[in-house]
Amino acid sequence: MNDNPLIALAGYFALLSLFAVGGANAAIPEMHRIAVEVMHWMTDRQFADSFAISQVSPGPNIIIVTLIGYHVAGLAGAAVATAAMCGPTCVLAFLVARTWDRFKEARWRIAIQAGLVPVSLGLIAASAFVLARSADHNIYAAAITAITAIVGFATRINPLWIFAAGGVLGLSGWL
């Protein structure tokens, strides 16, 4: 579609950043669609690996775009993808922060806020679906997903322990 991957990266992620209500987790399906299915930048497996790396590295999870960018076009790709994903939304955040207090009680603002919650819920559920399809290739991986879902829902355990357990089980060769 586009000869220069940097332009494609910038365009897709800048657009995506404005529609990702609910943050990085809501944007996963669209990133997957673009990177794996439309542009064929990476395989399903590489996408799932990038997600795993972004989860265990410190910092915002949106950093997955840095990994995708690097995979596509090296350091320049990483820089462009990250800037595109954060730039537009940062400008918006800066502008809105100045006027926010004035509209705090406005009815339209409350309606927008309430209206966006179910949309982002659906998007995050879609993320879980897309990732499960990429990662859970056998019954053991699916079992890990199911168990962590229950543990994550019922307890407030630090996610790093869960990731460590998942990594060790993965290494043990069951998956």
């Binding site: 590295s57 910092g59 840095t66 954060c86 179910p118 991986a141 993965g170």
Partner: protein, 165 residues
């Protein structure tokens, strides 16, 4: 002062402890207010939060410094990881570890969905669950582009929220 944000990118509870309890840069209410705003905006929440927080203190320079403090160190780390993955991604053991982590992280995401859905679905039957299910089907099953799904569903959902209040 904002340089000390560096260490804990991503972990909002830590950010809260430092900003509200240790440094007293914001009151608890100001923090919640800024956090609600950054969730309301599209894009990464933590990034939005750093911009909102930084701009309160120092306008454009404040926002820039806060953002750089948040993103700088993680970006360096993740770039190193990206280089390592490019070189060793084919190693079988590493692939197995990452598959295990993805399976576990997916489970945690399902837990997040369940926690978000509980208040939404426990009310009497109304529009919100329908919107959530429609968004899920559009993006996950039909694999339609996110902007398209968003531009159709968000106005409907906001209109429903407007009417029911």
């Amino acid at each position: 002062m904002i340089v000390s944000i560096s260490g804990f990118g991503g972990a909002l509870p830590w950010a809260r402890r430092m900003i509200v309890e240790q440094r007293r840069w914001m009151t608890s209410e100001e923090f919640n207010e800024a956090f609600a705003l950054s969730q309301f905006l599209p894009g990464p929440n933590v990034v939005n939060f750093s911009v909102v927080f930084g701009s309160r203190f120092g306008g454009v320079p404040g926002a820039t410094i806060a953002l750089a403090g948040l993103m700088g160190p993680p970006l360096i780390i993740v770039t190193i990881l990206a280089v390592l993955y490019a070189r060793y991604g084919d190693v079988e053991a590493l692939g197995r570890i990452l598959t295990g982590i993805t399976a576990a992280a997916t489970g945690l995401l399902i837990a997040v969905v369940a926690k978000m859905a509980t208040p939404l679905f426990s009310k009497r039957w109304d529009w919100a669950p329908l919107i959530a299910i429609a968004a899920f089907i559009g993006v996950a099953i039909m694999q339609w582009p996110l902007p398209l799904v968003f531009l159709v569903l968000a106005p409907v959902s906001v209109a429903c929220a407007w009417m029911t209040r």
